[in-house]
């Protein structure tokens, strides 16, 4: 028998939250895992990733779901019950109760590079000076000076990120249940924040995002995505509720 790919955990009482006939539920008492059979040979990451994303999106629109990390495979349905649903039953049930009626809203800020760099040059005399020096030297001769310049700029970018992130948190954190700062994925990234928000407050939160968008429009582009299943809030059982940013 083939192995099973596990997408997420739902309440057994919520019925079948996904229409795809290839996705079935493995039920144990109050909880159920959404799984499908998977054949190991020749699987493309891209197609499995798409399925994973779609199953969780659909499940989240019909029920409360705890996403399981992408790429998780177990031996068979029995293993899902014996090694996961049974030993962690109470924890999963309370995790589902905790996420009830809550959604993840993700806000990513990307710097407009010209505005960011112009601001940094204007604020730092050291950078401005070094920049002129580098410019006068032949490219090869300026190698180490360029690295030095880049280090100074990198530090300024970091400080700017810190400031902008704090600004966003001041505006939005009061409207969220909790927030996590995610890893930056590009050099131009300003922030990548995941907010857990009560469904009833999504409109209010969106209003605050609109204000923020106007505030920062000259130097940051915002991407506001959701509602998502609580990907960012189900990963660590160790320290639940604690803000991951510091």
């Amino acid at each position: 028998m083939s192995e099973v790919h596990v997408y997420g955990i739902v309440r057994a009482g919520d019925g079948r939250p996904v229409e795809d006939p290839n996705v079935r539920r493995v039920v144990h008492r109050e909880v159920a895992a959404l799984v499908s059979d998977i054949d190991r040979g020749g699987l493309l990451a891209s197609s499995v990733l798409r399925t994973h994303w779609r199953v969780l999106e659909e499940a989240a629109s019909n029920a409360t779901v705890l996403p399981v990390r992408f790429g998780t495979v177990m031996a068979d349905d029995r293993a899902v019950v014996e090694q996961y649903l049974e030993p962690l039953h109470d924890e999963l049930a309370s995790g589902l109760a905790e996420m009830d009626g809550k959604v993840q809203l993700t806000l990513k800020g990307t710097y407009r590079e010209d505005a960011l760099m112009a601001g940094i040059v204007a604020r730092s005399r050291a950078i401005d000076r070094l920049r002129s020096e580098v410019e006068k030297l032949p490219e090869a001769a300026a190698y180490y000076k360029r690295i030095e310049l880049g280090q100074l700029v990198a530090a300024e970018v970091e400080a700017t990120r810190e400031r902008d992130t704090q600004h966003v948190l001041q505006q939005l954190e009061p409207l969220a249940i909790t927030v996590r700062a995610e890893a930056q994925s590009t050099l131009k990234a300003a922030f990548n924040l995941a907010f857990l928000v009560d469904r009833s407050r999504v409109d209010k939160f969106s209003g605050a995002v609109a204000t923020l968008r106007r505030d920062v429009r000259d130097w940051i582009d915002l991407r506001y995505v959701g509602p998502l299943p609580p990907y960012s809030f189900t990963g660590d059982r160790v320290d639940p509720g604690a803000a991951a940013w510091a």
Binding site: I38, A45, R50, I147, T186, Y224, S232
Partner: protein, 144 residues
């Protein structure tokens, strides 16, 4: 680049439904970890995890930042080419793959966000990928 769009009146801020390209970084390493799990071996996944590591404190990064402020200077002085064009050139060619960012790398690897995503993301409506096409019309952005 003087962008000063006024928001259309009656414009209502709403989170956009997720497209895979928006959430790929979230999906890849978030969610419950099952102790006894086996991570499936998928074609392409090794590349994904390698791409996902971006080194901020690297010589590549510093050189790229130095280039960024340097370009700024040239643009200010000769004025023959607009800043946005220069920066775009830098984004497209100056930024080596190592520094172009994990997510862009992932999208390239997976072939999403490259224009062939329409069939796969047909159900999502207005919002779209961060593609090279979109990058190249950065100047027009800002109303989003």
């Amino acid at each position: 680049m003087a962008v000063s769009h006024a928001a259309p009146s009656g414009y209502l801020e709403r989170p956009k439904p997720s497209g895979l390209a928006d959430v790929i970084d979230i999906i890849l390493d978030k969610g419950l970890v099952i102790d006894a799990y086996v991570r499936v071996s998928l074609i392409g996944i090794e590349i994904l995890t390698i791409d996902a590591r971006i080194v901020i404190a690297s010589v590549d990064t510093y050189l790229r930042f130095a280039e960024a402020v340097g370009r700024l200077n040239i643009a200010e002085e000769d004025g023959s080419q607009g800043l946005p064009e220069l920066l775009e050139g830098m984004t497209e060619s100056g930024a080596r793959s190592k520094t172009k960012g994990a997510v862009e790398g992932l999208k390239d690897t997976l072939g999403i966000g490259g224009g062939d995503d329409d069939d796969d993301e047909g159900r999502e409506k207005p919002k779209r990928r961060r593609t090279s096409a979109q990058r190249s019309r950065r100047r027009d952005e800002g109303d989003e």
